[in-house]
């Protein structure tokens, strides 16, 4: 057998595996879609935005709803020291309108 045939076979095998991944992806998405309604209803009831992937601290679990600057909470010495803070940054709300700038921000006005 020629080497290019071997290579073709290898590539076909790899393509099949990639294709298999594609099928697996579709399956998982399909399964997920079934549970979609459950999640929608759940989210409507609870309405908390963040996933409970990490529960080590409030600012990691509810990072988009906790304090303005999470690394220092109420107490300046409580530094960021949770391992998961490596993966979660403090939210960036820097364009929050404040009183001085509200008049200069030109936001699209909805048709009333």
């Amino acid at each position: 057998m020629r080497y290019s045939t071997v290579l073709t076979l290898i590539l076909i095998a790899l393509t099949c595996m990639i294709f298999g991944v594609g099928v697996d992806v579709n399956n998982r998405i399909k399964i997920d879609r079934k549970s979609h309604d459950i999640r929608i209803r759940f989210n409507e009831i609870v309405g908390l935005p963040n996933l409970s992937i990490t529960t080590a601290a409030r600012y990691l679990r509810h990072y988009s709803l906790s304090d303005l600057s999470t690394p220092f909470q109420d107490y300046p010495c409580s530094q960021e020291h949770f391992p998961a803070s490596f993966a979660f940054a403090p939210p960036d709300f820097k364009d929050m309108p404040d009183r001085l700038t509200t008049h200069t921000i030109n936001r699209p006005v909805a048709s009333q």
Partner: protein, 338 residues
């Protein structure tokens, strides 16, 4: 600035292209300055060896460039999630003033690259390197395009502000909108479509017509090259104003990027691929007329021109087939136009 995996990926690609190209140009400069075909000394042999490096690098650069172009179109869609208001790639590109120029420059670069590679191909068919100085000079002239493109890319990505509200294609390609986007959609299909076909027929006519005099032929072929550019631009307009609405089956959705996504079975890849192939081969067919410096070159170039012409015709047909199939399917299914 957004530091995002997609942007990092694009940056890596862009920097690779720039580095490859810079390396190419340095070699090209070396060859351009020291080339002496009549010399038989060691130095000349080394230069001849370098020509292989340059052509290998350039081929790689073109492939990478095309690859990166398609990745850009796909990645922008992913980035649009970060920009409130941007629903797809168009929204991201219009997030700052560098986005669209970057894309336009990329298209120009594809054309220049291809011209260079075709000249390189013709040169390599000759026994005495007739085009060497010319082609390396050309390479040096192309270089700023890539530099500028990279600069625009970095300007574009570094100025992407995730908090700035941008518009999306629904509002850019809205008829009431002023500017290029608005102009494109305001262009009624009644004008754009016949214009497209007229230009296609014109370039076909030019391709088949021939005059005896060399200068006359040059003018004719240059004209042909220009018609292909017009064809390319008109095609893009038709894609936005006509083809896209039948792909999406929505009168308001006119995005020229979304149909590259898997949701639309990647129909954009054959569509744009064939369009580029047609325009590039047609354009270069015309441009090549200028390089018929001697009889031997003229022979090779004529053969190449014939091949390019054939490629162009088939790609145009392919493009029209791919582009108008959604329209036909929609029309046959519903019996209506959008």
């Amino acid at each position: 600035m957004i530091l995002n995996t997609w942007i990092v990926g694009l940056m890596v690609g862009q920097v690779t292209i720039l580095a490859t190209f810079t390396f190419c140009v340095l070699n090209a400069l070396l060859i351009f300055l020291n080339w002496n075909y009549d010399s038989s000394d060691e130095k000349q042999y080394q230069l001849e060896k370098r020509t292989y490096l340059v052509s290998a690098l350039m081929k790689f650069a073109l492939v990478t460039h095309l690859f990166l172009f398609s990745l850009t179109a796909l990645a922008l869609d992913e980035i649009s999630e970060l920009l409130p208001g941007a629903m797809c790639a168009v929204g991201v590109l219009s997030a700052n003033e560098y986005g669209f120029p970057y894309v336009y420059l990329k298209i120009v670069a594809v054309f220049l690259f291809s011209t260079w590679l075709i000249i390189n191909y013709i040169d390599s068919k000759q026994e005495n390197y007739p085009l060497v100085s010319l082609k390396y000079l050309l390479l040096i002239i192309i270089f700023p395009t890539i530099v500028f493109e990279t600069v625009l890319f970095f300007k574009f990505t570094l100025n992407l502000d995730p908090q700035v509200i941008t518009s999306c294609c629904g509002s850019i390609f809205n008829e009431k909108n002023i500017g290029v986007g608005g102009l494109i959609s305001a262009l009624p299909n009644r004008i754009a479509l016949p214009a497209l076909f007229a230009v296609a027929i014109l370039s076909g006519f030019l391709a088949f017509s021939d005059v005896g005099a060399r200068r006359g032929r040059r003018t004719l072929r240059t004209l042909e090259a220009l018609t292909w550019i017009v064809f390319f631009i008109l095609s893009l307009m038709v894609v936005i104003s006509f083809i896209s609405i039948y792909i999406y089956e929505m009168p308001t959705h006119r995005c020229p990027f979304c149909f590259l996504q898997s949701e639309y079975n990647f129909i954009g890849f054959p569509l744009y691929g064939l369009l580029f192939l047609a325009a590039i081969s047609g354009f270069n067919r015309g441009i090549l007329e200028w390089f018929k410096l001697n009889d031997s070159l003229a022979g090779v170039i004529s053969t190449t021109q014939n091949n390019l012409g054939r490629i162009a015709v088939f790609s145009v047909l392919g493009f029209l087939l791919v582009g108008f199939t959604p329209f036909l399917v929609y029309y046959l299914k519903t019996g209506r136009l959008i």
